[in-house]
């Protein structure tokens, strides 16, 4: 029979008996300090690094707590382990194939059918990388201006193509290409947030970093005017 009191008693006994309590406390304290540094930091890179370091400290603390447990049939540990495994599989592997679902859902078509330069522009960005991969640009039928990236594809709505000037569109493509370039690492940030219960606070920073990349590659004005048009 499951009892919260028994579980808490188990945690108290196992953690204090394992001798890991000082290290766990130090790790939690370090995580709190890093969260504090995240809140105080201004640059997007420093914010992401300090937040990720804090999450890693939290993960180490959780790992030490789990490893110090010697009670049998701990329901909370079993639930957490199942949650960690399922969320890892979903977050790390689903995005790799989800873009295929998106192509079908939006009825997306290769952009080369209506415009040639966007695909060539994205291909040229790929060549600048150490390990270039294929990135397809798709458009889909909607008047609502929107752009997003998933898996190996960039999606642009027709409404976006209608209202953007060439430079603005280049900035958007560069922004989305930056997301794709980092899409092996960003799901890790999401997963860290899931398994440490700290919430995903890196999205804004990632958007800022993608904008900085687009501004360097195209122009700051193009990024800003595209942002204004997208409201």
């Amino acid at each position: 029979m499951f009892s919260i009191q028994d579980e808490i008693g188990c945690y108290m006994a196992c953690i204090s008996g394992s001798g890991l309590l000082p290290i766990i406390s130090a790790s939690v304290l370090l995580a709190l300090l890093l969260f504090g540094s995240y809140l105080g930091a201004k640059g997007p890179k420093v914010r992401i690094y300090s937040f990720t370091a804090a999450q890693l400290c939290m993960l180490i603390s959780i790992g030490m707590v789990v490893s110090s447990m010697h009670c049998s049939r701990m329901l909370s540990i079993e639930i957490y382990t199942a949650y960690a495994i399922i969320s890892t599989v979903l977050i790390l592997f689903l995005p790799r194939i989800y873009y295929i679902v998106l192509i079908r859902r939006y009825g997306a078509r290769p952009i080369a059918e209506i415009m040639e330069w966007p695909q060539a522009f994205v291909d040229s960005l790929g060549k600048m990388e150490k390990s270039p991969g294929t990135r397809e640009v798709y458009y889909y039928d909607s008047a609502v201006p929107r752009a997003f990236a998933s898996g190996k594809a960039i999606f642009l709505s027709m409404g976006l193509l209608e209202i953007m000037e060439k430079n603005e569109l280049k900035a958007i493509l560069a922004h989305e290409a930056w997301h794709l370039r980092h899409n092996t690492r960003t799901p890790l940030l999401r997963q860290l947030s899931m398994i440490t219960f700290t919430g995903n606070r890196s999205e804004n920073e990632l958007e800022i970093m993608a904008d900085i990349f687009a501004a360097e590659l195209v122009s700051k004005n193009a990024v800003e005017s595209a942002r204004i048009k997208l409201g």
Binding site: I114, M115, W117, A143, P145, M158, G159, L161, E162, K166
Partner: protein
């Protein structure tokens, strides 16, 4: 919403059957013919953020149609009404009458006759 199951008889004019934005867009398409998205925002005075989603809904509901126009390495939508205003009025009237007869049968038909005599 462009759904005849949401008719609001207390509203004025076309807004009985369409939302105010939908009504203004459809009026532009009926009166001015083929129009681009910027033309529609200009004629209606409604910002793009509201017009875009509404245009998607009108196209999905079948009241408006659009084609993709490619010009000098740029693309744009061209919108037009699927049917004339009279045909749309005919479709709506028929659906409403069918619905009334379905629900009230003889009473509805007697009322049509009375209304006709007036």
């Amino acid at each position: 919403m462009v759904k005849l199951d949401r008719i609001n008889i207390s509203n004025e004019g076309l807004t009985k059957f369409f939302s105010p934005i939908e009504a203004r867009i459809m009026t532009v398409l009926w009166e001015e013919g083929e129009r681009t998205t910027p033309d529609i925002t200009e004629s209606t005075g409604i910002p793009l953020s509201s017009v875009a989603g509404t245009l998607d809904r009108l196209v999905k509901a079948g009241y408006a149609k659009r084609t993709v126009d490619k010009k000098e390495n740029r693309v744009r939508y061209l919108y037009y009404a699927s049917e004339s205003m009279d045909s749309t009025a005919n479709t709506i009237t028929r659906k409403v009458l069918d619905s009334l007869v379905d629900t009230f049968g003889k009473v509805a038909i007697e009322n049509f006759h009375t209304y006709n005599k007036k």
